[in-house]
């Protein structure tokens, strides 16, 4: 009997052994997209994939992951598990995830299939192929996992439509649209490295742990099921960067600029995650600031970047500002969501007193001075006159598409405005980072589909708020204040017979 091949040999046989050089067409006809960005590759065989995932293992483990997930989902809905989450407010974080992230998984599926077809290196193609299938799986399991909630709660019904139309969802959408309209190496740097390696832990680990802590079995289960795939994706991300940096010194400045751009874009996207972590989890795992310090400062700045320094790579543009903003970003973002909550497909609310105390403890330098007074004032308004909303339309940053809500890095009392003029037109930005990204590629960003502009241009259902909300697919109950909402009233009535604690 022949000796069974080891993992290393099996992987080599699959990725290198079955590769061939095209003879009916020229190499550059078969693979026409990997050169226009200026990246130089000399030896694709230097590509390494430490996971060494082979097709048989891939099917085996992925199907086992799915089997476990669906057993849990069945059990969850059989047990009316939705009644056992910590509080009805919690699900608003999940609505935001479903509306904002799930459609990105599908976009990732599509574009990794493109990479799997068009990259000349067989190792890269195999990794991208697996990731493409993973991302389709993630789309499916997220929809399946969250659908048990759709029966009982508002805001879960139209994520595809909302993703393409609703103002705050243009933040994640524009991030991904920017990536898929770049070249293949920039895409890999944007998604595989900047998002999956640098920043993914900030989204997924505290988010899933928060789901676990708040009794949300479906999200925890799909989340950790997806995360095991993400580990593989992180490896692809780190590998692509090291590969580019090692292949040719001329690649270094190109990669550095991509890192600068995509760190900042990803970090800005994460402001929604920051708001979710600090404000939307009734039982909190850790603050945004703590997560940023652990997952970004310690793991990336102290951990990863010394490894990249030997290639001449520096920590990305804007990192100092992000560090300053860790005291502020969740508060400034949630405050905006609260104020414009009439137009969001989830509910918002004023944190409870014990939650405000928690934030005072977690953010001693800023919370009591800048943010707590806002919520106390908002509570007073609610008590005296009921809930208020900012019914005007905010100015948006031309690059990250977030309203102008962020303050000057060194002054939490002053909104930060930046602008550039291009072809006699003035463009506005929330930060030096976004301005810089625009200035590097103004032709790209003048084309941005900005939700507020589109409303004014008459492209969003009509000029009035109800017309726009209707065009967004937002139904009564999806939006606005949580207290007194359909979800809150249902939650209270479902739990009125619960035993007192």
């Amino acid at each position: 009997m022949a000796r069974k091949l080891g993992l290393r040999e099996t992987y080599a046989a699959m990725t290198r052994g079955v590769n061939w050089t095209p003879s009916y067409v020229k190499e550059e006809e078969a693979f026409p997209y990997h050169q226009f960005e200026g990246i130089k590759i000399h030896d694709w065989d230097k590509w390494e994939d430490p996971f060494r995932m082979t097709v048989d293992n891939y099917w085996k483990y992925q199907s086992e992951k799915d089997r476990r997930l669906y057993a849990v989902l069945d059990s969850f809905s059989q047990n009316q598990g939705h009644l056992n989450i910590s509080d009805g407010r919690y699900l608003n974080a999940i609505k935001l995830f479903l509306q904002g992230v799930t459609p990105l998984e599908y976009m990732a599926h599509r574009h990794f299939m493109f990479i799997a077809r068009y990259m000349p290196g067989p190792g890269t193609r195999m990794a991208a192929l697996c990731q493409s299938i993973d991302e389709l799986r993630h789309t499916q399991i997220e929809i399946h996992s969250m659908s048990p909630y759709n029966k009982y709660y508002s805001g879960f019904h139209s994520m595809r439509k909302m993703h393409d139309r609703v103002w705050y969802l243009s933040v994640p959408k524009s991030y991904f649209d920017d990536a898929v309209t770049a070249g293949p190496f920039e895409f890999l740097t944007a998604i595989s490295f900047s998002f999956e390696y640098l920043l993914t832990n900030l989204l997924f680990v505290p988010f899933m742990s928060g789901a676990a802590y708040n009794g949300d079995l479906p999200t925890t289960t799909f989340g950790f099921s997806a995360q095991s795939d993400e580990s593989r994706h992180m490896t692809l991300g780190l590998q692509v960067i090291k590969f580019l940096l090692e292949q040719d010194e001329a690649n270094v400045p190109i990669v550095q600029r991509w890192l600068d751009k995509w760190f900042w874009r990803g970090y800005r996207l994460n402001s929604l995650v920051a708001a979710m972590m600090d404000y939307m989890l009734p039982k909190k795992v850790m603050s945004w600031k703590e997560a940023f310090e652990l997952y970004f400062e310690q793991q990336m700045l102290d951990g990863l970047f010394p490894d990249l320094a030997r290639y001449g790579i520096k920590p990305p543009m804007g990192v100092e500002q992000a560090i300053k903003e860790k005291e502020k970003i969740s508060h400034e973002t949630y405050w905006a969501l609260y104020n414009f909550g009439f137009a969001a497909a989830f509910n918002t609310w004023i944190p409870t007193n014990s939650e405000l105390d928690w934030m005072t403890e977690k953010y001693p330098a800023t919370f009591d001075r800048y943010y707590r007074p806002r919520y106390e004032k908002a509570q007073k308004i609610v008590d005296e006159n009921g809930r208020f909303f900012m019914l005007g339309l905010p100015q948006l940053c031309q690059v990250c598409q977030i309203p102008m809500i962020f303050t000057e890095p060194d002054d939490p009392g002053k909104i930060c405005f930046r602008s550039s003029t291009y072809k006699a037109e003035k463009y506005h930005f929330c930060s030096d980072g976004c301005k810089q990204i625009f200035d590097w590629e103004p032709e790209k960003y003048v084309q941005s589909w900005l939700p507020v502009h589109e409303i004014y241009k008459g492209n969003c259902g009509g000029p009035s708020v109800p017309e726009v909300l209707d065009w967004y697919g937002i139904q009564p109950g999806d939006n606005g204040e949580y207290q007194g909402s359909v979800d809150q009233l249902n939650w209270a009535s479902w739990h009125k017979d619960f035993a007192p604690v």
Binding site: M208, Q299, P306, K314
Partner: protein, 103 residues
């Protein structure tokens, strides 16, 4: 510019590590890691077990099999891993090694 000179950032000691699901099999793997990497530090947030080391973290099939009391393919690590910190430098039939490239 090295990371430690980033304004406003106070550098701490560098570490590598793995984040695992808090489930039955992963708990056995954690025991094996702790046996083989005496400096390993284990911490926890809901649903997640984090194991970190300062220089390298090695997972040995043989030790995991002793802890789990059944055969274990290193590829089964895919069923437990959530995330990792560092660079996976080796993953073969007998070992998984996580470390940074520079020390």
């Amino acid at each position: 510019m090295s990371a430690s000179t980033v304004e406003g950032h106070i550098a701490k000691e560098r570490f590598i590590g793995v984040d695992l699901q808090d489930h039955e099999e992963a708990r056995g793997i954690v025991k094996a890691i702790v046996r083989d990497n005496p400096e390993a530090k284990v911490s926890q947030i809901p649903g997640v077990i984090k194991v970190t080391c300062h220089h390298q973290l090695q997972i040995n099939r043989a030790t995991v099999e002793q802890e789990l009391r059944h055969e274990w393919d290193t590829q089964e690590f895919n069923m437990s891993i959530i995330s990792y910190i560092g660079d996976i430098q080796e993953w073969d039939d007998d070992h998984i090694l996580v470390k940074w490239s520079t020390d």
